[in-house]
Symmetry: C3
């Protein structure tokens, strides 16, 4: 990794990037949204579900606004050593994660499942852990030069969480097929869990995008 270190160290320590706090603030909101969603998924009172969803939705709307700010910031500004399009790509991926957390919250609120199984709580925790890993990685972004290992450790974590999410989803659906006699309730819960599983996939895509950026500038 010495080549990464030597390359980045020329540029990064002496320069602040305006896009970075913006992107980090999307990471913060991903964690907040995942925390609210964890509460929502264990909530059975519909009006409380609606309140929690409204808060998630507000975060998602803020992220859309921040994404436009990142776009404006990248446009025409030098962001060396990175290529602007890579930062834009990363920002798109982050936004997708927040969209999918929002989607999971919305589906839970709208479809009103009688109760969510314990495995849904497990999945919500995986999403929250993923959001936290993304937040750490983004906070280490500027020091990738000195310690790319820290970012790579979070990428590894996101990869492992995606595999764990796959396992939880598949075992959950297996149980659902065995125990849920109401097919409509089955489809409903499967739809919510599927959206959650996609959120863990997309969190891993953020990790892959970070790895590609590291490889590109290595």
């Amino acid at each position: 990794m010495s080549s990464i270190k030597s390359f980045f160290s020329v540029f990064l320590p002496n320069k602040e990037y305006k896009f970075l706090p913006l992107i980090q603030s999307i990471g913060e909101r991903a964690v907040l949204a995942a925390e609210l969603f964890s509460q929502l998924i264990s909530e059975t009172d519909q009006s409380k579900r609606e309140d929690l969803y409204a808060k998630v939705k507000a975060l998602e709307t803020e992220c859309d606004i921040i994404e436009v700010q990142v776009f404006d910031e990248l446009n025409g500004n030098f962001v060396a050593p990175f290529d602007r399009e890579d930062i834009h790509q990363l920002c798109n991926m982050l936004d997708d994660v927040v969209d999918l957390i929002n989607g999971s919250a919305k589906k839970t609120m709208l479809y009103q499942p009688q109760s969510m199984p314990n495995k849904a709580m497990h999945m919500a925790e995986i999403i929250l852990e993923g959001a936290k890993a993304i937040r750490i990685a983004l906070n280490e972004f500027k020091t990738m030069s000195k310690s790319p290992e820290n970012v790579l450790e979070q990428c590894k974590k996101l990869h492992d969480l995606e595999h764990e999410g796959d396992d939880v989803y598949d075992n959950f659906v297996k149980e659902l097929f065995e125990t849920e006699s109401n097919p409509i309730e089955l489809v409903k819960i499967k739809e919510i869990m599927g959206e959650m599983e996609r959120a863990t996939d997309k969190a891993n895509s953020v990790g892959k995008t970070l790895q590609t950026i590291i490889v590109k500038y290595a």
Copy 2:
């Protein structure tokens, strides 16, 4: 945006790109396919559904052929100020949109739902609006130097349409869970609506790709 203007203006006004009319003709076909699909979705006569699907399929096949022509055109030809791979990426995304409109039409024709709910018509309109936004953006492609705002306006529209598509889909499925007592009919209609929702997602991906191109060459 002045930097975009100054950069593009050096290259674009004096040069024709052979790939551009090809890509624009995919945009045209996306609109035609979306129009035919709108008719199909409100059609209950199976033989008319089959006729309409055959027309959508023919457009999709034409787009596959055009995509190969774009590939051949890009290969070895200078397409400055763009990198060839960005145009190829954009073309791939466009083709995906047409594929998903075709997929929505095929599923409707094959699965033969008794009737499609009003919300399906709404979704078909969102897809059509998205295809039109893509067509406008592609027609503005050459003048992105003078007015990137026009392309960005369509990107914003594609983003909003995707969110609208999400809402229509989620509320539609919510209603379906409440009103459709036949689980097999429920899964059938949900499958068709899901493909339509993916078409609005992919249309937004075209917008994101256009934004990344703008950022890259800003």
Copy 3:
């Protein structure tokens, strides 16, 4: 294609890339996994299904390890004429294909469908053909300079296989809606077939990535 030839020929014949045998070994494992999955899908004995899945899973784990090796190999090493990030992207896509074959095997093993329909066998064959096309393309990677046509032929094949996979899936689901009276069994088989269909999609994405690499360096 003469420009591709002249460009690549400067670099490739005299140089070995350490990343290439690694990536090729992922291609080999994709074929092995697809072969095991073909056996699994026609197997009705649950303990044999579990044995076969364990073998697929072992291949998937090996691919994850190889992917890390590719990452380490790319980092800081010159891999001209390619940009490191393109090889990383290709490797990510390959890994996704193996993940989806593994996912298809896992779902079949876990959900324990009473029997899989003939169309599932057809789909497994499409996946296997796709894995073989990927293997050929990767083995031709180094000689893309002399004969890009060979790689492009495999890309075309992957595209056609994806379309064939779509058709098989849609016609299969159509039949399922007509003949399967147990909605839970319907959802179960549809879930497995959906994962298989995604594997053919992702195999086509490998083809598109290869085409983008060809276009970029043409």
